[in-house]
Amino acid sequence: MLKPEQEASLRLAEFNSRRFFLRQCTLGLGGIALGGLLGCGGELATSPQTPTTATLGPLDLAPHARRVIYLHMAGAPSQLETFDYKPDLIKLHGKDCPPSLLDGKRFAFIQGTPKMLGPQANFAQHGESRAWVSDLLPHFSTVVDEVAFLRAVHTEEFNHAPAQLLMHTGSPRLGRPAMGSWVTYGLGSDNENLPGFIVLTSGGREPSAGKKLWSSGFLPSIEQGVQCRTEGDPILYLSDPNHMSRDLRGKSIEAINRINRQQHKELGDPETLTRIAQYEMAFKMQVSVPEVMDISKEPAHIHEMYGTEPGRASFANNCLMARRLAEADVRFIQLYDWGWDMHGTSRDTSLGEGLADKCRAIDRPMTALLRDLKQRGLLEDTLVVWGGEFGRTPMQENRGGTTNPFLGRDHHGEAFTMWMAGGGIRGGASYGQTDAIGYAGVNERAHIHDVQATILNRLGLDHEKLTYPFQGRNFRLTDVAGEAITPLFG
């Protein structure tokens, strides 16, 4: 595996050839493998107005991370029960929320005057960084020194689907490409046999914005995230029909490609050569995908470490798969875990029980993921990101003006916590502060576009230069804003 500085020089060498055959350097092809085989094929049917590769140079910035594992807690976990310790809120518990926190503000469900709600967990400081973590995350509190916290992230969106879209596509509306698509568009992928952008979901449901969160939007569809499934084929249509043997499938693909080569001789369309290569890759993927997704052969101590149970859909299994995909050099590994929307309308959405259950389900595996990446030397060039789509109110939710049956908090975009670790991130760092009750950031606030700029920066991509022309203008992940948060950099 290459170190970042080696990759830097390699990317420079790749660049000139990459733009000639980008459409082939798709599913994990990094360009190199097919470069010699395909020459400048694949451009005929496209046009100058439909770029299929990023127009930026490979080295806008020095890359510190080669890949990303993004853990998204769909539904938005409460920062006030996990990482943002607010003792003053204990004192205010049960008091009416002052009008200054309500006037001119928009909430999803709060109406009238809600009560303030003290933290529903106990906090302590951990590690050399003395980071506050609640007792809902006992395992994670042992690795806080690997992690940099962003404590005053903010967003304008306070409903799940738009906020998730903003977080992962840079816009709250439908139709933009996902971050993972932008990244594979900008960097290609290093793996020859696997997609460059893989998505794993857990928690029983997909996130509110669904498959749109890994859509390639207006980028070429080759950049779309590939969802690996736990039921049926891990990737759609991976299994051969009619009990066809591997040998026979191989022979049939040889026959297809032989006839296609003849076709190319007659018509000279370079797309035909691309197609030949893609059939070869499809044949390889039929083996490599199930192999990488199969966690059953991992040793017992690894299963113990993550708390995995092979064959079951869980966040723990997905964490272990994420490590395997990182080892296989998949560029962007996106996890979504459903079930964090603690409004207090039922037991499962209560801060007392629902949130504790969810924290229990992620605490051990996400800690294991960081330790496991570290012990394999992968953490230094893998950027791990954790967060939700927004935060929760310091007030108790009172849907329709009446108090909910369980303790819960409404959606809140003004301040919430995320963390990053690994590739190019300074462990133990902390950025941003919220006010005494965790309602809003008071300094070092970070907008979603800043978070995105930071992630791209660590991969060596300048968020202002990674653009794509569509509907008459150049679009980018960060829209017209965003600034990388340099204090986090290691």
Binding site: R23, Q24, L27, L44, A45, T46, S47, P48, Q49, T50, A108, N159, H160, A161, P162, R173, L174, R205, S208, A209, G210, K211, K212, S215, P220, S221, I222, V226, I235, L236, Y237, S239, D240, P241, N242, L248, K251, S252, A255, I256, I259, N260, Q262, Q263, E266, L267, G268, D269, E271, R275, Q278, Y279, M281, A282, W338, G400, H411, Q471, G472, R473
Partner: protein
């Protein structure tokens, strides 16, 4: 890329050498666009200098005096701190001289080519034998390059190409045999006419149009509920099959509801703009998402009809084109008065009644036509079609106690005992009753008083006297003049919601009182109002004048920061709206198709050209502005545009007929060494070649295997897709239920399209996600596509079926392979290919213990995956 840059000046500016005069458009604007407007444009105007409008440019340009022009001083300056472009390589001496000569000659400005009206110039080359004017224009450009056109494509290739292009389907074996027996010009013309007359034509064209219309069978976002809008898809198919003139096609979709006495079809046409996604997630604000929809309608209209990137001026003036921030909201004003509001019920909707209701509707309609004035007839027609206008809670005034939820799934006013509000001033002269739309939760009495809380009671409703499930019809005392109505609700239980009010419909008095049957016909009003026995299609429906919304400019595009008021208009660069007409959608739609509009016909013919050739004459159909591509054949584009709008009377079929009769279209698509300098086929010296679209792939697979159903229209169908894809959508329990019978084998245009989980057959092959308008799909070539055509059970089912049919004819392996090949590829098999496939067949036969059917399936699997099969050549 380099080739393109060289090519454009040759084609576009070929006259500059003969004419010493500098052309702003051909010579100057390209320099400004490439080197200057990034900092001195419509948005960023560094040093207060913008180079989009001449007035602004004059700050740095003194006409006639290059030496006194700051622009020249700066581009020539030796100090890199002062020289422009700043922190970039200096302009070349030739570029600077061009600018100097231009200033010397008076620094005349020209509008961008696309805003100048198209004026046909005859081609220099003659029309070739067997060709048409198109070929002459193409020859003009080819002459300059010294390249000759390609020979004609072989007849089999040509028939397959034109069949796929016109109907989306390959020819049948019989059609192919007929044509191969007589591939004459006349036979080709007959084939083209047959294809244009086929109902399959409309289905194919609709598939392309639905990308622009962002058509889907669901609403998008979190819950992604179903939407009943397939009648719009069927309208599009019919419109294409009937060859509805493009100007009418435009007006009906954008403003069919504002036409006099609109037919139900004209209302359904307006569903074009009800295809916008809506957000049903619990906490979302309806006004916010209504605003999002209106913006989408503005952007889509300008992209589809004008190739103009209006979305660029949502937040600020256009960075590159002469379009201002306020122009956006002047367009917004046209679309801002429809009654839709991101309502969960997707209203307003046109009702397509069941047969059972038809009689009552006809009777009522005949009645008002016979006994009412024209205005009364119009009023009742609107009642029958849409039940609009409804006065919804956002119009309620002086609300006391009532809580308007204005949330995704709760678009009503929650009323507790003692709560009240006022309905806005309206004329009550002819009003006979109020229809109350409400969801009742407890018993209550609703009282309506004239003007205010102390006015006379003019109507009362007691919820204990239930009227069934529909709206409650509350008769109103006869009142004259314009009044507000005070509405209050009282009940025994305090502080609990009594009813959720969605709105009121003001029902007029039925004309013809005293005639026979009056009472019976009047009863139909209640029957129809309460009936749910109809298909409801969301459509556009404007608020009446007194309920119109005020349009504000949004500062920086933020809907929460309204700026000054605007009432509708078009950019100054374009021809003005006709004087004396109401500023509404209909006027705007007619302006689009007026002869003066320089863009509509160009954009339309360019789209058709792009669909046939893979790339438009302007390669950016979505952007005819200064940042879009220049036309490769400007004279051809203009001639086609004018010909289309005048001689051909906007007939799309005639336009397509013309293009496919050109020799240019009928060329072979094979590569030739001399085309090496033109990899994108910008010179049109060969025929088109591109991978089939997602829809064509499915349809072709079903067609060649003999499975394809030709059933047309109706709700979306659910062909097989992998299990479980719909299982994990939050708060949604609707299921993908695989269609039975022939619905399993319908064309792709009928496949149920759910935005959150589009059928993988569409997404894998570059289909649109149907969330926003998409002018062209980006063609990719991926291993996931290979896996799909190799292994998708829908494909393998077709392969099995075809094998079965062939085995019914012969069990001789060599013959069977030949027949399979002919069924799939329409030509005799090459000797070498036969050997390869027979070899594979024998290997498969061993693996499958001699089961011929299984072994032949492997051969079919190969044939369905050949480049030749997947490509239009």
């Amino acid at each position: 890329m380099r080739i393109l840059l060289l090519l454009i000046p040759v084609v576009v500016a070929s006259c500059t050498e003969a004419d010493p005069r500098v052309s702003f458009n051909a010579d100057v604007r390209p320099i400004l666009n490439a080197k200057c407007v990034g900092c001195h444009g419509g948005v960023k105007q560094a040093g207060d200098l913008g180079l989009i409008f001449r007035e602004n440019a004059l700050g740095a340009v003194v006409p006639g005096q290059p030496r006194r022009s700051e622009l020249i001083r700066r581009v020539r300056h030796e100090d890199p701190e002062v020289r422009m472009p700043y922190e970039a390589p200096p302009l070349s001496e030739a570029e600077i001289q061009t600018l100097e000569r231009w200033i010397e000659q008076g620094a005349e400005w020209e509008d961008h080519w696309a805003y100048e009206p198209p004026v046909p110039t005859p081609p220099s080359s003659p029309v070739p034998d067997g060709g048409n004017e198109i070929d002459a224009y193409v020859a003009d450009a080819l002459l300059a390059s010294g390249i000759s056109p390609a020979p004609a494509a072989p007849p089999a290739t040509l028939l397959r190409r034109v069949s796929l292009d016109l109907t989306g389907l390959p020819p049948t074996p019989e059609e192919m045999e007929t044509f191969l027996a007589d591939p004459s010009e006349a036979a080709y013309s007959r084939a083209v006419d047959r294809l244009l007359a086929s109902p399959r034509y409309g289905e194919h064209r609709a598939a392309g149009w639905l990308d622009l219309a962002r058509y889907a069978d669901s609403r998008g976002y979190e819950r992604d509920r179903p939407r009943t809008i397939w009648p719009y898809r069927d309208w599009v198919i019919r419109a294409f099959n009937d060859d509805m003139p493009f100007d009418q096609f435009t007006v009906e979709q954008l403003a069919g509801d504002l036409l006099p006495n609109p037919t139900p079809d004209q209302l359904i046409a307006t569903a074009f703009h009800r295809n916008t996604p809506s957000n049903g997630e619990g906490g979302t604000n309806n006004e916010e998402y209504r605003t999002v929809s209106v913006m989408d309608r503005v952007n889509t209209t300008w992209e589809v009809w004008q190739g103009t990137t209006m979305a660029c001026v949502q937040c600020h003036s256009h960075p590159y084109d002469p379009i201002l921030h306020e122009d956006y909201y002047n367009s917004f004003a046209f679309f801002n008065n429809t009654a839709d509001h991101d309502h969960v019920w997707e209203l307003p909707a046109v009702r397509i009644p069941s047969a059972a209701l038809r009689g009552k509707i006809d009777s009522l309609q005949n009645w008002v036509t016979s006994y009412g004035t024209d205005a009364e007839a119009d009023y009742w027609l609107r009642f029958l079609q849409t039940r609009e206008p409804i006065v919804r809670p956002y119009y309620f005034e002086d609300v006391v106690g009532g809580v308007f939820t204005d949330r995704a799934d709760e678009d009503f006013m929650v009323m507790r005992s003692g709560n009240s509000f006022l309905l806005p001033t309206t004329s009550l002269d002819s009003v006979e009753a109020l229809h109350l739309l409400s969801g009742d939760r407890r018993d209550y009495v609703l009282e309506v008083r004239l003007d205010d809380s102390t006015g006379a009671t003019v109507a009362t409703y007691d919820s204990q006297r239930k009227q069934g499930s529909g709206p409650k019809i509350i008769s109103l005392d006869s009142v004259r003049g314009r009044h507000r109505l005070f509405v209050t609700v009282t009940g025994e239980e305090k502080d609990v919601p009594l009813t959720n009010i969605y709105g009121f419909y003001f029902q007029a008095r039925l004309p013809g009182a005293g005639r026979d049957n009056y009472a019976a016909v009047k009863q139909y009003i209640a029957d129809l109002a309460g009936s749910r026995d109809s298909v409801q299609v969301p459509v556009l429906s404007d608020h009446p004048p007194e309920m119109q919304r005020t349009t504000h400019l949004f500062e920086r595009g933020n809907w929460l920061v309204p700026g000054r008021v605007l009432d509708g208009g078009v950019p100054a660069i374009m021809p003005p709206l006709p004087a004396g007409q109401e500023k509404n959608r209909l006027t705007f739609a007619r302006w689009l198709t007026a002869p003066e509009n320089p863009l509509t016909a160009r954009v339309a013919v360019n789209r058709i050209w792009g669909e046939l050739f893979g790339t438009g004459l302007v390669a950016t159909p979505e952007d005819f502005g200064s940042q879009g591509a220049m036309p490769t054949h400007p004279e051809l584009l203009d001639w086609l545009a004018v010909h289309f709008a005048t001689d051909l009377k906007w007939s799309t079929k005639q336009l397509i007929r013309l293009i496919v009769h050109s020799k240019t279209y009928r060329q072979s698509s094979a590569a030739r060494p001399e085309l090496g300098d033109d990899p994108y086929n910008q010179l049109l010296a060969r025929g088109p070649r591109s991978r089939l679209t997602a829809e064509q792939l499915r349809d072709q697979m079903l067609a060649v295997s003999g499975l394809l159903s030709d059933k047309m229209y109706g709700p979306g169908v659910m062909p097989p897709q992998p299990d479980g894809l719909w299982d994990h959508i939050p708060y949604s329990d609707i299921k993908w239920e695989t269609s039975a019978g022939e619905d399993r084998y319908r064309r792709a245009v009928y496949t149920y399209l759910r935005r959150s989980v589009i059928h993988p057959g569409l997404t894998t092959f570059d289909g649109s996600s149907r969330e926003i308008c998409l002018s062209r799909r980006t063609e990719t070539n991926t291993p996931l596509q290979a896996l799909a055509t190799l292994n998708d059970p829908a494909f393998t089912e077709a392969m099995h079926h075809l094998v079965g049919e062939v085995l019914n004819e012969t069990d001789d392996p060599a013959l069977a392979v030949d027949r399979l090949h002919r069924r799939v590829l329409y030509r005799p098999i090459r000797e070498g290919d036969r050997e390869d496939l027979l070899q594979l067949y024998r290997e498969a036969l061993r693996e499958y213990d001699g089961r011929q059917k299984d072994a032949l399936f492997v051969v079919a699997n190969v044939l369905f995956n050949l480049d030749e099969f997947l490509t239009k050549s």
